[in-house]
C-alpha cells in the first residue's frame, strides 16, 4: 500500500525521461513509456494484493507543505481509490500499447500522456482538498496539447472546449472549497478537517452546488456534457481511451470523495435534481448515439450515457448504489478503452474513414476479424451483457436505485435498452454491414481499389485489447474481487454521514 505514491512519481519521472529519449529515437520512447505505465500498474496491483480493508482512508504520506495556506501534502487511499488506480494503470498501459504507431514527435506525445497519467494518479490518492485540485488542474494542460497536436476532427475546437469546461469545473470547485475553508474557521484543507466545518444548511446547499457542479461537469452531467463527445472524438485514440475511460471518472470520484462527505445536508437537498439530470443524461445521450453517422461519435455519446449511470448510482445515496457506481466506473473505464481502441486505432487508422455508411460497404469482419470480435465483445460488455463487467455494475446500481425511486430505475432500464440498440446498430453497420455475407450469394468485393484488404492488427494492439478484454471478463464473472475493496470503504464515517443524510 505504501508504495502507491510511487505511481505518481514514476509517471512524472517517466514523462521527463521519455521526453528526452524521444529526441533520439521514437522506439526508445515507446518502450520507456510502456515500462513506466506497466510499472505503475504493477505497483497498484501489488497494493491491491496486500490491501487490508478498513473503513476510512489509510494515510500514505502526510507532510507539511504550505503551512501559511494550510495545505498539506497528504496522500491516502481506501478501497475506492485502489479500484480506480488499478483502472488507471490498466488504461494507461493499454493506451501506450495503442500509441505504438504514433510517428510524429512520439517522445512529446508520450511525455504529455505520462504527465496526464501522473496527474490522474495524484487526484485519486489525494486526501487534502487543495492537493486534489492541484493534481486535477495539473492534468488539464497535457489534455489540451494531446488533442490539439495529435488529434483529428476539429481538434483545436474540441481541445479548447474540453479544456475550458474542465477548467471551469475546477474553478467552481476551487470557489466552493475556498469558501468552505474560510467559513469553517480557517483550519487546513484536509478532507477530514473540512468535513468538521459545521456549516449552516444554507451554506451547505450553496457549497455543495458549487463543488458538485464543478466535478459533475467533468463527469459529463447533462446538460453540461457537450464537451465530451466533441473532445473525445477530436482526441487521438490513446488520449480518448484515457480521457473517456479514466479522466471522466475523476469528476465522479471528486463528487464522491469531496462533495458528498463535506456537505451531506446539501447533498440531501440536491439529490432529486442530480438524479433526474443523471437519468436525462442516460436517455438523451443514448438517443443521440443512436442517430450518429460518425462511428467515434457513437462511442463518445455512449460514454456520456454510461457516466449518467454512475451519477445516478451516486445520487441514489445508499451503499449499494454507490458501490455499483464505483464498479461501473471501473467497468466503463475498461470498456471505453476497448471501444475507442477499436474505432480509432484498429479501424480508422486503416480505413481512414469513420462514417458508418462508408464502413458498411467494406466487409470488415473478414478483413479485420480480430477487431470485429473485440468490438463485438466490447459492445456486449457495453450493453450490460452478463459475463462482462458492465452487468454486475448496472445490476448493483439498479438494486440500489429501486428502493429510492422506481421511476428512476425504470428510466435507467430504458437507458439499458437504448444502449443495446445503438451498440447493435454500430456493430451491424461498421463490421457486419453486408447482410447474408456468408450466405449463398456473397457480394463481390474484388477489384475495387478502395476496398482492398487492410494491414493486419499488430501485436501491441492485440496485447492491449487482450488485457482490457481479460479485465472486463474477470470482473464480470467475479465482481466481488472489486466489491470486496469498495464496499468496506463505504463504511467510513464520512461517507456514512453523507449516505444517511441522503437516505429517504
Amino acid at each position: 500500500m505504501s508504495l502507491l505514491p510511487w505511481t505518481i512519481y514514476l509517471s512524472f519521472a517517466g514523462a521527463l525521461v521519455v521526453l528526452v529519449a524521444g529526441t533520439r529515437s521514437a522506439a526508445a520512447a515507446r518502450w520507456l513509456a510502456l515500462a513506466t505505465t506497466a510499472g505503475g500498474w504493477g505497483v497498484t496491483l501489488l497494493a491491491g494484493l496486500s490491501f487490508r480493508s478498513a473503513p476510512g482512508l489509510q494515510t500514505l504520506v502526510d507532510v507539511r507543505w504550505i503551512p501559511e495556506l494550510g495545505v498539506r501534502y497528504h496522500l491516502a487511499a481506501d478501497g475506492i481509490s485502489l479500484t480506480l488506480v488499478v483502472l488507471t494503470g490498466l488504461a494507461a498501459t493499454a493506451g501506450v500499447l495503442f500509441s505504438w504507431n504514433v510517428a510524429e514527435r512520439a517522445g512529446e506525445f508520450l511525455a504529455l500522456y505520462l504527465a496526464l497519467v501522473g496527474g490522474v494518479y495524484g487526484v485519486f490518492l489525494s486526501a487534502d482538498a487543495l492537493l486534489f485540485l492541484v493534481f486535477y488542474e495539473l492534468a488539464i494542460v497535457p489534455k489540451y496539447f494531446l488533442i490539439a497536436r495529435w488529434g483529428s476532427t476539429r481538434r483545436e475546437y474540441g481541445a479548447m472546449k474540453l479544456v475550458l469546461y474542465s477548467f471551469a469545473g475546477s474553478a467552481l470547485v476551487l470557489t466552493g472549497i475556498l469558501w468552505a475553508q474560510a467559513a469553517g474557521g480557517g483550519h487546513g484543507f484536509a478532507l477530514a478537517d473540512l468535513a468538521r466545518g459545521g456549516f449552516t444548511p444554507a451554506q451547505q446547499r450553496a457549497m455543495f452546488a458549487l463543488v458538485f457542479l464543478g466535478f459533475a461537469v467533468l463527469a459529463g452531467l447533462f446538460p453540461f456534457h457537450t464537451w465530451a463527445p466533441t473532445g473525445h472524438v477530436a482526441a487521438p485514440t490513446p488520449a480518448s481511451m484515457l480521457l473517456a475511460g479514466v479522466v471522466m471518472k475523476l469528476g465522479a470520484y471528486g463528487c464522491l470523495r469531496v462533495a458528498l462527505p463535506l456537505f451531506p445536508a446539501g447533498f440531501a437537498f440536491w439529490q432529486p435534481v442530480i438524479a433526474w439530470l443523471a437519468v436525462a443524461g442516460v436517455v438523451v445521450a443514448g438517443l443521440a448515439a443512436l442517430v450518429q453517422e460518425d462511428f467515434k461519435f457513437v462511442i463518445g455519446y455512449s460514454s456520456v450515457s454510461h457516466m449518467g449511470f454512475v451519477l445516478l448510482g451516486l445520487a441514489a445515496a445508499n451503499a449499494r448504489a454507490v458501490s455499483g457506481a464505483v464498479l461501473q466506473m471501473f467497468s466503463h473505464g475498461v470498456i471505453a478503452g476497448l471501444l475507442f481502441a477499436v474505432v480509432g486505432r484498429m479501424v480508422y487508422d486503416r480505413t481512414h474513414t469513420r462514417r458508418l455508411a462508408d464502413l458498411r460497404a467494406r466487409p470488415l469482419h473478414r478483413w479485420l476479424p480480430f477487431a470485429a470480435v473485440t468490438f463485438v465483445v466490447a459492445g456486449l460488455a457495453s450493453m450490460g451483457m452478463p459475463g462482462f463487467s458492465g452487468f454486475p455494475a448496472e445490476l448493483t446500481i439498479l438494486i440500489g436505485v429501486w428502493p429510492v425511486s422506481r421511476t428512476w430505475a425504470v428510466a435507467a432500464v430504458a437507458g439499458v435498452l437504448i444502449a443495446a440498440a445503438f451498440t447493435l446498430r454500430a456493430i451491424q453497420l461498421a463490421f457486419f454491414g453486408q447482410t447474408g455475407a456468408m450466405g449463398a450469394n456473397p457480394p463481390d468485393d474484388g477489384g475495387d481499389r478502395a476496398l482492398r484488404p487492410l494491414p493486419p492488427i499488430t501485436w501491441p494492439e492485440r496485447v492491449g485489447a487482450l488485457l482490457l478484454l481479460a479485465a472486463t471478463v474477470l470482473v464480470g464473472l467475479k465482481p466481488d474481487l472489486l466489491l470486496n475493496w469498495i464496499v468496506p470503504s463505504l463504511q467510513s464515517p464520512l461517507l456514512q454521514t453523507a449516505l444517511r443524510g441522503g437516505a429517504p
Partner: protein, 488 residues
C-alpha cells in the same frame, strides 16, 4: 528628524550602489566603447549593471530587519526587504532579457536609465514618508518614460512614451495634491504619525478628497480601470526590455508603495492594525476598481490579435486581482500580495523576454508571429509555456499559488458576506476566460506549424540563462511557496 546620517547611508547603500553602477557604465562606455558594436556595448553595460544589482541585493540582505530608519523616513521591515530584493531580482532578469533583444542605439544609456528606475523602485519599497514616496515614484516614473520612448526609429515607441508621460505626469500631480491635503489635515508626513492622528479624529471632507486623489494616482500607476488607457499603447509601443520592466518591477514596487500608503503600520506588526485611514470608505472604491479591471481586462484580451496588447489587457486583469491582495492586506498581511506581484512580474517579463528573442529575427507584433516556436527555438517555447501557464494560474507553478493565497486572504475577510469575497469569486471564474486567450497564444507557439521561410532563432547565452532561470524559479516557487510566504 532624529537618526544619524550613517544609518541613512547604510539604509541607502543599495540605491547608492545602483547609482554608482549607472555612472560606471556611462563612464566606461564613453571612454572605451564608443567605436564598438552595439551588441558589445550592450553586453558590457548589462554585465556591469548585473554586478551592481547583485551588490545591491547583498546590501539589502545585510541591512534587513533594521526597522524604521532615519527617523521614520524609511522602514526596512520584512515587506521592504522582500520588495527591494524582489525588484532587484526582476531587474536582473530584465537585464538578461535586454541582452536577448535587438540592441538599442544607445545601449549604455539604456542600461543606466534602467538602473535609475530600479533605484526608484527600491526606494519605493522602503519609503515610509510621503515625500520620500513621491520622490521615489518620480525617479522611477521619469526613467520609465524615457525607457518607453527609447526607440526613436519606431513611431509607436514615441507615441507610447508620450501617452505614458502625459498620463503619468497627471497622476503624479494628483498624488502630490493628495499628499499636501493629508499634510494639511494631519500635520505630518510620516506614515505612522499620520495613522495615529487619523485614528484619533473622524473623517473629514478634506481627507476624502485626498483619498480620492491617492486612489486615482494609484490607479494610473498600476493600470487599473478606469485609469488604464495608457497601458495597451505603452506595452505595444515600448521596446521590449522597457515593457518588461514596466510590467514587472514597476508593478511590484507600485503595489507595495500604495499598500503601505493605504494600510499603515505594516511589517511584523500586521494584525494589530487599526482600520485603514478614512474608515472603510476606500474599500468600496478599490473593490469597484478591481472588479472593473478584472472584467475589462479579461474580456478585452479575448479579442486582441496583437500579442503585446493582449499582454497589456491581461496585465490590467492581473492588476484587478492584485488589488484584491491590497484589500486583504489588513487581515492576512502582505505575504499574498507580495508573492503574487513578484511571481506575476517574473512571468510577465519572461513572456517579454521570449518576444524579444523572437524579435531578433523578425517582427513579433501579432500572435501568429509566434507560430511554430517549438520548432524555431525549443528553449523559447518551453520557457514561454511555463511563463504563460503561470500567468494563467495553473499549478504547480507560482502563479497558481499567488492567486490562491490572494483569494484565500480575500475570502477570509468576510466569507461571501462582503464585496471582497464576491470579488474573489469573480476573479476565479474569470480565470477560465483568461485560460482561453493564454491557450490561444500557446497554441500558436506549440501546436501551429511555423510559417514558411521563418528562420530558427538563436538565443544568446545571457538571455537564455535569464529565461531558463526565471522559468526554473517559477517552478521552484510554485512547488515550494513557503520559501517566500514564510518570510513574512
Amino acid at each position: 528628524m532624529t537618526g544619524s546620517y550613517a544609518e541613512l547611508a547604510r539604509a541607502l547603500l543599495p540605491e547608492a550602489g545602483l547609482m554608482a553602477g549607472a555612472l560606471l557604465i556611462l563612464g566606461i562606455d564613453l571612454v572605451w566603447l564608443r567605436t564598438r558594436s552595439s551588441t558589445l556595448r550592450l553586453r558590457v553595460a548589462a554585465g556591469i549593471a548585473a554586478m551592481a544589482v547583485m551588490a545591491a541585493m547583498v546590501a539589502v540582505w545585510l541591512g534587513a530587519g533594521a526597522g524604521p530608519v532615519a527617523g521614520g523616513a524609511l522602514v526596512l521591515d520584512s515587506l521592504a526587504v522582500a520588495a527591494r530584493l524582489g525588484v532587484l531580482g526582476l531587474t536582473l532578469f530584465t537585464l538578461g532579457v535586454a541582452t536577448g533583444a535587438p540592441a538599442p542605439r544607445h545601449p549604455a544609456e539604456y542600461v543606466a536609465i534602467m538602473l535609475f528606475a530600479t533605484a526608484g523602485f527600491t526606494l519605493m519599497g522602503a519609503a515610509h514618508q510621503l515625500l520620500i514616496a513621491f520622490l521615489a515614484l518620480e525617479l522611477a516614473s521619469l526613467s520609465l518614460y524615457v525607457l518607453a520612448g527609447f526607440d526613436k526609429t519606431c513611431p509607436e515607441s514615441a507615441e507610447a512614451a508620450l501617452k505614458y508621460f502625459l498620463v503619468g505626469g497627471m497622476s503624479s500631480a494628483f498624488l502630490l495634491f493628495g499628499f499636501s491635503l493629508i499634510y494639511g489635515a494631519t500635520g505630518s508626513i510620516e506614515l505612522p504619525e499620520i495613522a495615529a492622528v487619523l485614528g484619533r479624529q473622524a473623517s473629514s471632507p478634506l481627507l476624502e478628497v485626498a483619498l480620492v486623489m491617492i486612489l486615482v494616482s494609484f490607479g494610473f500607476k498600476v493600470a487599473a480601470v478606469p485609469f488604464h488607457l495608457w497601458a495597451p499603447d505603452a506595452y505595444a509601443g515600448a521596446p521590449t526590455p522597457s515593457a518588461a520592466l514596466i510590467a514587472s518591477g514597476s508593478k511590484l514596487a507600485g503595489f507595495v508603495l500604495f499598500a503601505r500608503l493605504l494600510w499603515p503600520a505594516l511589517g511584523r506588526a500586521v494584525g494589530v492594525a487599526a482600520a485603514p485611514r478614512g474608515g472603510r470608505d476606500w474599500l468600496l472604491a478599490v473593490v469597484l476598481m478591481a472588479g472593473a479591471s478584472l472584467l475589462l481586462g479579461n474580456v478585452a484580451a479575448l479579442v486582441q490579435r496583437n500579442l503585446r496588447r493582449l499582454l497589456a489587457y491581461s496585465a490590467i486583469a492581473h492588476a484587478g486581482a492584485l488589488l484584491l491582495g491590497v484589500l486583504a492586506l489588513g487581515g492576512s498581511g502582505p505575504a499574498p500580495l507580495f508573492y503574487y506581484a513578484a511571481t506575476y512580474g517574473l512571468a510577465a517579463l519572461g513572456v517579454f523576454g521570449v518576444i524579444a528573442g523572437v524579435e531578433r529575427v523578425g517582427g513579433c507584433a501579432r500572435i501568429e508571429d509566434l507560430a511554430g516556436l517549438h520548432r524555431r527555438s525549443p528553449l523559447l517555447a518551453a520557457c514561454l509555456l511555463i511563463f504563460v501557464l503561470s500567468l494563467a494560474g495553473i499549478p504547480p507553478l507560482a502563479g497558481f499559488f499567488g492567486k490562491l493565497s490572494v483569494f484565500m486572504a480575500a475570502l477570509q475577510l468576510d466569507g461571501l458576506a462582503g464585496p471582497v469575497g464576491w470579488l474573489a469569486v469573480l476573479a476565479i471564474l474569470l480565470s477560465v476566460v483568461a485560460l482561453y486567450y493564454y491557450l490561444i497564444v500557446l497554441k500558436q507557439a506549440l501546436v501551429a506549424a511555423p510559417a514558411p521561410r521563418t528562420p530558427r532563432i538563436a538565443v544568446p547565452l545571457p538571455a537564455a540563462l535569464a529565461l531558463a532561470g526565471a522559468a526554473a524559479l517559477l517552478v521552484l516557487l510554485g512547488v515550494f511557496p513557503s520559501l517566500v510566504l514564510a518570510r513574512f
